[in-house]
């Protein structure tokens, strides 16, 4: 009984902090989406999706997140398999190169695309120089720019997850598959993939939710023309002053990330 009291004494400050300064304000904000003029209901959601722009933004967010997750899985599986086989001195350096981007300001990482894809950027000037195009084309503030930015920002999360899953894969399993006559592709689909699927699920969840809740990338590379959920939310508050709409978007953001999280977990089982 005495030990219990000490334990709760240690937990209480953090729990009280999270309750008062996090849970309460967030719940109050989310609750704002579920009533219209004091009457509870889902009218605000119906109203929100009645606007074609909002539908477009929601689908774009899901589409870009899904595509980024798929592409990063396709790139990172072979890359991670190569990384775990690199001999030790090089391996530490390469692992550092994967982790470093996670620590660097996402603004600094995203800014490079403004440099590369701008009207005077290297991509445009090369294409003009080679005579492929006559005038610089618009590359920034397109969906493609946002996709490339998201992929670059989120890919390390997939790579790290897959590397740690592959590290736990016993190497004699692969040797056994090889001895028993499995081709490379069969070894991958029947042995490696089932044994490392947890890493894929974790990486996929991180990349997908990271993209759905991205603000910096769509703000810098998409602008007002290529809105995603978070940039739309920002606009609703700071340009339109429409707080109820912001609450609706907040609920959508949260439900979408939770649904993907639970959905992918169920797939793993």
């Amino acid at each position: 009984m005495h030990r219990n009291r000490i334990a709760w004494g240690l937990l209480a400050p953090a729990l009280a902090f999270v309750g008062v300064f996090f849970l309460l304000p967030v719940l109050a904000l989310l609750a704002g989406a579920f009533h219209v003029d004091g009457v509870p209901g889902i009218g605000r959601f119906v109203q929100f999706f009645a606007d074609p722009l909002h539908q477009q933004v929601y689908w774009r967010t899901l589409r870009l997140a899904g595509l980024a997750t798929l592409v990063s899985a396709l790139v990172c599986y072979p890359a991670a398999m190569a990384l775990v086989r690199v001999p030790p001195p090089w391996r530490g350096l390469l692992t550092g190169l994967v982790i470093l981007p996670l620590m660097v300001s996402p603004i600094a990482r995203t800014y490079s695309w403004i440099v590369l894809l701008g009207r005077n950027g290297v991509v445009n000037s090369t294409l003009v120089g080679a005579g492929v195009i006559e005038q610089p084309v618009q590359m920034l503030f397109t969906e493609a720019a946002v996709f490339v930015g998201l992929l670059q920002l989120m890919m390390p999360l997939m790579l790290v997850s897959l590397v740690s899953a592959l590290e736990n894969l016993p190497s004699d399993v692969l040797a056994a598959a090889h001895t028993l006559g499995a081709s490379r592709w069969q070894t991958f689909t029947r042995v490696v993939l089932p044994l490392t699927q947890e890493g894929l699920i974790i990486g996929g969840t991180l990349v997908f939710t990271g993209c759905v809740t991205a603000y910096i990338t769509p703000a810098m590379l998409g602008g007002p023309k290529v809105l995603m959920l978070e940039t739309l939310l920002y606009q609703k508050v700071n340009v339109a002053g429409d707080l109820p709409a912001a609450s609706v978007i907040a609920v959508l953001l949260l439900l979408t990330t939770i649904a993907v999280n639970q959905g992918l977990r169920r797939v793993a089982r």
């Binding site: 219990n4 999270v18 996670l102 996402p106």
Partner: protein
């Protein structure tokens, strides 16, 4: 299958080039000598790097960022270390529930936290913006400090604090004299990780800045909207260099990569 296949190696090289290449681009652009942003630059100089260090808005927001970064990291450790200790040493009923409650700030998108604090704290209770910024960052960092310190405690044998208590130390003495010195590295790693997270944070801060109060990343995003000179590239260069040094040092001293 056990040897490195050439295709996979090629994919690794391409992936790393895609991840690290942008740093090179930003570095070169940051040292450009011209008036406007051009890549590759025609001439190179220190001009823009020197310039950004003199811009008052950047100086002011850097001070705010450092303040909020250190303040929230410290608060998150003061709240988080006892939690990690309680969860690892005591059979708390409902511990899973506690764990879930304390990881919620990672689940809820930062922009929602920022907006909620703006509505609740700033507009409703008239709390100053800087205080809300500090509170929001602390909530966000708490899951990190709890996780890193917990994994450090998991490697420490439970009986060493029990031994201290048996030998006559109070629980408090046992913690400060026996446990804490042994999880130093974990606490330091949590500090670095949390500080970097706060320093780079944008979504939580987005709504919690206003006239006079702004963090460096928010100031950079605002600057970009109006100017197209190499300032942001120069500032990004400094941030990248600073992070590389910080990560290299902490990796060497603490082995931070095992906590990421």
């Amino acid at each position: 299958m056990n040897r490195l296949s050439r295709g996979a190696l090629l994919m690794l090289v391409l992936a790393l080039a895609f991840l690290v290449g942008p740093f090179v681009v930003v570095f070169l652009a940051g040292f450009s000598g011209g008036e406007s942003l051009k890549f590759p630059p025609e001439t190179y100089s220190w001009r823009w790097v020197r310039h950004v260090l003199e811009v008052e808005a950047f100086q002011r927001s850097l001070v705010t960022s450092l303040w909020v970064g250190f303040g929230s990291t410290f608060s998150a450790l003061v709240l988080g270390v006892p939690v990690a200790y309680a969860l690892s040493r005591f059979q708390v009923p409902g511990r899973e529930w506690v764990r879930t409650a304390l990881t919620l700030p990672l689940v809820v998108p930062g922009i929602i936290v920022g907006l909620a604090l703006l509505n609740h704290m700033v507009l409703l209770y008239d709390l100053p913006v800087t205080a809300s910024l500090l509170v929001g960052h602390t909530a966000l960092l708490l899951p990190y400090t709890v996780r890193v310190v917990s994994s450090s405690l998991a490697n420490l044998r439970v009986d060493i604090d029990d031994a201290a208590v048996t030998l006559g130390a109070t629980r408090l003495q046992a913690f400060f004299k026996v446990v804490l010195p042994n999880i130093r590295a974990g606490v330091a790693a949590a500090f670095v990780l949390a500080f970097i997270t706060s320093f780079n944070q944008v979504p939580v801060s987005l709504f919690l800045t206003g006239p006079g109060v702004s963090t460096l990343p928010i100031e950079m995003m605002a600057y970009m909207e109006t100017s197209y000179d190499p300032s942001i590239a120069a500032l990004s260069t400094l941030l990248v260099a600073f992070t590389i040094v910080l990560v290299a040092v902490t990796e060497k001293v603490l082995g931070i990569s095992k906590y990421v």
